[in-house]
């Protein structure tokens, strides 16, 4: 059992991080904590992607001396760069999402003077909006 966990430790770490993020998004009352939970959630997925490109004993995928076409490339000796490239896009997306969410939080704070969800709901109930 322990071997099973250790041999796939990257997946376990990503699942644990993801659940922490999911818990923060659902369970926390403070909107900033929810946002941080969302970031943890996204980072977990990024780590998952990065880890699936790794191969044991492989090196960075920079080719030297392969420009003339007389040497075949040994795929197993290079890690897979594609998941990493995909994650560059995902990181940009997650930064943009965080930016919009923070801007929204500023709007909320200006309006209600608090970032606690239960207090905001109370204010909205009192003002009938």
């Amino acid at each position: 059992m322990l071997d099973y966990v250790i041999s796939k430790y990257n997946f376990w770490i990503y699942i644990i991080l993801m659940m922490i993020g999911l818990y923060a998004m659902i369970g926390k009352k403070n909107l900033v904590k929810k946002l941080i939970g969302m970031n943890v959630f996204q980072s977990a997925i990024i780590l998952f992607y990065v880890s699936i490109g790794v191969k044991a004993g492989a090196t960075v995928p920079i080719l030297s001396g392969h420009g003339h076409g007389h040497e075949a490339i040994d795929v197993a000796s290079y890690i897979n760069p594609l998941p990493h490239v995909l994650m560059l896009t995902a990181i940009v997306v997650s930064i943009a999402t965080t930016g919009i969410a923070l801007a929204t939080l500023i709007l909320i704070y200006r309006k209600y003077n608090t970032l606690e969800e239960d207090e905001i709901l109370k204010i909205r109930k009192e003002t009938g909006a």
Binding site: L22, M25, L31, K34, L35, M38, F41, Q42, I45, F48, Y49, I52, L82, P83, L86, T89, A90, V93, A96, T97, I100, A101, A103, T104, L105, L107, I108, K111, I120, R124, A129
Partner: protein, 500 residues
């Protein structure tokens, strides 16, 4: 030129959106004509693409000339070309409509509004056209991000609704991204056509099952399928009129399109229907969506909020058509993507016009609107009849196919739910029509000095930039109904997988 049409659909609005701030910095008034002129190009391109697909069959466009599965490919078949035409035409019509509404609601924010508007349209069309699952994720996020920002500039309560939407929408997109990751682990490919070739050998694998589950849940969140719809009512209701007229018809429908695409193109229908028990679950959830949306809509006094709950119910219609998994049902679902987009666009445009003219959305304050705004209310009534499923309006035909599909699948409860929902819609919309057309004068007028004073009600129709889109949409509701047989025989029957 002609063979580049597929790329123009995406490239033109994307680059044009970057020019909106330039024009806005120079002269604010130029933004509106620029956006309308730009959106004509995707419409022409997608019509030409649909024409090509109808005459020569499906084709693919290689972006930058890179061959798939390494390069990104645009996949153009009957289904995607059909949905592209819907998205591009509705976005053009909403752009025409947006002039007065934006001047009235967001005078300070014209420039960001139109920039985000074009980005949102780019994202939606990208989702439909792309043949690469990761590229689809990127477009999904482009549309979602611009949608968050557009909703946040709305009325009171919008920031809170937006924040909820951001959190839930990001969970949905991340689930979709995880699904891609699992597919990539198992297959090493991201191209839809390539995946469809590789996957059948791997259908027993648990990794593929997990990927499928993540896709389904993620897209159900994006489509607002019950019980994952909780973000939808507040977000759509608090958005500015022109924004809700764009996102209410298109966002959920495009997510439903992705669901159809993944279930029946990337995965074989045989896998999605027989090897995973997802169809009955989706079907029963849709039944609950139809009832929940209908009942919540009945409880609303605000016209826009009522329509937002109708959107929740309409998502149920489309997903029922997918989950019966037969030719009739899926034909109904694809037809309903079009019909519902047109009907919802028309209804939300009308609500925007009413709000612009009268400043209210409360149903009981709409008295004598038939005299004030005769054309707008006529359009509303036509669409309302279509929502109830009265021929020859288009709503009847998609519902007819959906009900035939459920009967063919032997799901009598689902068929009954569809019929009940027509009744609920009848009650919903006749309540509004009664208020606008038939309610007598308010007692305050009648008791004025003991004599009944018949005040002359001035005609106060919506401005032309609003009225023309509304009338076009209402005419579309009738025309699409009359020509629905032709649409099915020339486009939709080829969009349904051949194995059905």
């Amino acid at each position: 030129m002609a063979d580049q049409f597929a790329a123009l659909i995406i490239v033109v609005p994307l680059i044009a959106s970057l020019f909106v701030p330039v024009f806005g910095w120079w002269k604010k008034k130029l933004c509106y004509p620029w956006v309308v002129a730009v959106l004509v190009i995707p419409l022409i391109s997608s019509l030409s693409v649909l024409n090509t697909v109808m005459t020569t069959g499906k084709f693919s466009y290689r972006l930058g000339g890179w061959a798939p599965p390494w390069g990104i490919e645009y996949m153009l078949d009957h289904l995607s070309a059909f949905v592209l035409v819907i998205v591009s035409s509705i976005s053009l019509i909403v752009a025409i409509y947006s002039k007065k509404s934006v001047e009235d609601n967001l005078p300070e924010k014209t420039v960001p509004f139109y920039t985000l508007f074009l980005l949102l349209v780019t994202g939606l069309m990208g989702i439909v056209i792309t043949g690469d699952v990761f590229n689809l994720f990127v477009f999904l996020e482009i549309s979602a991000l611009s949608c968050y920002a557009l909703i946040a500039i709305g009325e009171e309560g919008a920031p809170m609704a937006t924040f909820n939407y951001i959190i839930i929408g990001t969970i949905g997109a991340c689930f979709y991204l995880l699904g891609i990751g699992y597919l990539y682990i198992a297959t090493g490919s991201l191209n839809m056509a390539d995946l469809a070739n590789i996957l059948p050998d791997l259908y027993h694998s648990k990794v593929i099952l997990v990927a499928f589950a993540f896709f389904t849940v993620g897209l159900a969140i994006k489509a607002g399928l019950f019980p994952l719809h909780t973000w939808l009512p507040d977000a759509y209701c608090t958005a500015p009129s022109a924004v809700s007229a764009l996102i209410a018809p298109l966002m959920t429908k495009v997510a439903a399109y992705v669901m159809i695409r993944l279930m029946f193109t990337v995965f074989q229908p045989n896998f999605s229907v027989n090897m995973v028990p997802v169809m009955p679950i989706l079907g029963w959830l849709s039944v609950m969506a139809i009832f929940w949306g209908g009942i919540k809509a009945l409880a609303q006094t605000d016209l826009k909020r009522m329509l937002v709950y109708v959107v929740v119910a309409e998502v149920g219609y489309i997903v029922i058509g997918v989950s019966v998994a037969n030719r009739m049902g899926l034909t109904g679902a694809i037809l309903h993507i079009m019909n519902d987009a047109v009907m919802m666009a028309c209804l939300f445009l009308v609500v925007g016009a009413i709000l612009y003219k009268t400043g209210t959305r409360e149903i009981h304050q709409l008295r004598h609107l038939n005299k004030k705004m005769p054309f707008t209310m006529a359009a509303f009534t036509i669409t309302a009849l279509s929502m109830c499923g009265i021929p020859p309006a288009c709503g009847f035909f998609s519902k007819w196919y959906l009900i035939l599909g459920t009967i063919e699948a032997g799901q009598w409860v689902w068929a009954a739910a569809l019929l009940c929902s027509s009744l609920i819609n009848a009650v919903l919309f006749f309540r509004v029509i009664e208020c606008a057309y038939l309610k007598p004068m308010e007692p305050a007028y009648a008791l004025n000095g003991g004599e009944t004073k018949h005040e002359e009600i001035q005609r106060d129709e919506a401005p032309l930039t609003m009225l023309v889109p509304i009338v076009i949409m209402a005419a579309g509701v009738i025309l699409l109904g009359i020509f629905s047989g032709k649409i099915i025989s020339s486009v939709i029957q080829f969009a349904v997988p051949a194995s059905f």
